[in-house]
């Protein structure tokens, strides 16, 4: 369960995080391993070639000794191979663009192949003419390049496949989490609506019924009509309050008023509904305004709901626990690399008593923090430069593209 930092410290943004329990593939380790295996195989192959093309025979007939010569050939090739492997990976081939990466390996092989050729010349059982040396140099370079490049390339393929697998797993998990979140949120709202219907609302209706019965009884007993009319008016007022406070807030919990008209309108309405003693400021950022001007409702309904409820919780906390008298609400959108993927960035500042008395509100806000995190966003609570608390959250969304023109888009029931 996500917890909000109690000391008001900023939580590290968890946007675009990786799945922690899925070990990330290290392509360098695989690359070194594969390249080293290739190099060892190549060294053994060159030993076999040395023996097959007469090296064994010459060594046997000279004073050098077969074992020493064979060992020298193997060690020279192995050392050369490991030099290419080491040289290549010390230069961090993954940091280079793919095209340069293989040129880099070739360059290391080319350079390391030179001392190898000289060392091979020093072995007694090998010829010492220029043709041999040139052949050794080219063959050594090619073998070194192919061995290491193949290792790097294979590691790259493995890494890409693993990353794709991780991405798919991540997508599946976040989809499952979103579904679970939706279901638990639906259950929570159902329970809350049912509780309120059974509890406070019924009770308050009963008191009005009893009150009206009382007025009727007094009229029966011959009370003056003018007095009864004043009472009836009071009960009518009470009914109006019940409608405004109980029924409206219930229907709001199910679906906030004005939300179908878009995020900005819903926020405007929310601020206008605050008690008149509260000074409220709404700052719609230029990028969000541009999006709204382009398409009527750029933020899809699901994200709109999550954002509007989180903002509302923040404002309620500021008023109820922070006893704020001024609220500043700022909403902006931030682009990402993907032109369709945006991040909604919202800040709610207040001039209340701040975080010292913030304890009771944490349970409510952590639910919203969890919902935001489930959608790849985050929520932080900290001190505000305005004196009270600052609620800040980000929520990624995929912008809608097809506005049917202002009125047309507004007219659709969704």
């Amino acid at each position: 369960m996500a917890r909000l930092p109690r000391d008001g410290r900023r939580r590290r943004p968890t946007l675009y995080r990786t799945v922690k329990d899925l070990p990330l593939h290290d392509p360098t380790r695989t690359g070194v391993l594969l390249a080293t295996i290739n190099v060892v195989l190549y060294s053994l192959m060159s030993l076999a070639t040395w023996a097959g093309w007469g090296g064994w025979y010459i060594a046997a007939n000279s004073g050098a000794g077969i074992l020493a010569e064979a060992l020298a050939v193997t060690v020279i090739n192995l050392t050369y191979g490991l030099l290419v492997v080491g040289g290549t990976f010390l230069l961090h081939p993954r940091r280079w663009p793919p095209r340069v990466r293989y040129v880099l390996i070739a360059a290391v092989s080319l350079v390391a192949s030179f001392p190898r050729t000289l060392a091979m010349r020093g072995v007694h059982s090998t010829p010492a003419d220029t043709t041999y040396m040139l052949t050794e140099w080219v063959a050594g370079f090619t073998a070194g390049f192919v061995a290491v490049a193949a290792g790097v390339f294979t590691a790259e393929l493995v890494s890409r496949a693993r990353a794709e697998e991780a991405r798919r797993l991540r997508a599946a998990r976040s989809a499952a989490r979103a579904v679970a979140e939706l279901q638990s949120e639906e259950m929570r709202v159902r329970r809350m609506v049912a509780d309120r219907l059974h509890g406070t609302l019924q009770y308050r209706m009963v008191t009005v019924t009893a009150g009206l019965d009382g007025v009727a009884a007094r009229l029966d007993d011959g009370a003056p009509a003018a007095e009864a009319a004043a009472d009836v008016r009071q009960w009518a007022e009470r009914l109006e309050e019940i409608r405004e406070e109980e029924i409206r807030s219930l229907s709001h919990a199910v679906f906030p008023a004005g939300i179908e008209l878009g995020t900005v309108r819903a926020l405007e309405l929310m601020l206008r509904r605050l008690p008149p003693q509260i000074e409220a400021h709404l700052d719609i950022g230029p990028a969000l305004q541009r999006l709204v001007d382009e398409v009527e409702k750029p933020i899809p309904p699901a994200e709109r709901l999550v954002a509007v409820y989180a903002i509302e919780e923040g404002i309620t906390n500021a008023l109820r626990h922070g006893r704020a008298s001024r609220i500043w609400l700022a909403a902006e959108v931030v682009p990402t690399d993907d032109p369709l993927a945006w991040v909604l960035d919202v800040t709610v500042d207040d001039d209340g008593s701040g975080l010292a008395q913030a304890e009771p509100e944490l349970s409510g806000l952590s639910r919203h923090a969890e919902r935001l995190e489930g959608r790849g966003g985050y929520l932080t609570l900290g001190p505000s430069p305005r004196g009270g608390a600052r609620l800040h959250f980000q929520l990624p969304f995929t912008r809608t593209l097809h506005g049917e023109g202002a009125a047309g888009a507004l007219g659709s029931p969704a």
Partner: protein, 220 residues
Amino acid sequence: MDQEIRVGIVEDEALMRGMLEQTLSAEENLRVVHSVPGATEARLVFTPGSVDVALLDVHLADGNGVALGVQLQRQDPNLAVMLLSSEDVMGLYTSVQNEAPKAWSYLSKRSSFARDVLVRAVAATAHGQVVLDPYLVQRSEPRAGSAVADLTPAQFGVLRLVAEGLSNQAVAERLGINTRSVESHLKSIYQRLGIDGDGSNRRVAAVLAFIEQTGRAWRT
């Protein structure tokens, strides 16, 4: 009010629709030309020039009355719009005012049951006035930190009645002062709210400022 006012009603609750129809038809100078339950039907029958005032419920089964109003008024810029709603969504449509050609009136369903309030609001709206729900207007108080909060109590009292759609003469009668004082109050109100322009535009701007810069206190 010699000319007949043609009224169109869009309301999904049959009882409410019937009540509106009956109340308005009973008036001599009003005629209900359309009475439909949804936005879809309204788009079909509200042809430009056929209706003077559209009474639109905010919550329709097949859409939103605010959006419908913007669309209908764009097709017919002479159409006056009055929103009806059971809950207080007065703040909702002020932001739509930038898109709609003309300012709208707003009546709560509670007030719509009072015959005189309803008839007066429909007639005033047809004559280009902006009428806000009298019950909600009386419960409205200036929002802290706003320009409206800087008005004197007397000026705010005048602004309240203007927001209800009353003429200067009616405001004067209601407050028991003369029309000249109302005019001078209005002048100061326009000045304090930074409103300029000509007569009726200034009046509409003042009503919009009233919506934007007031709030309702339910717990008294």
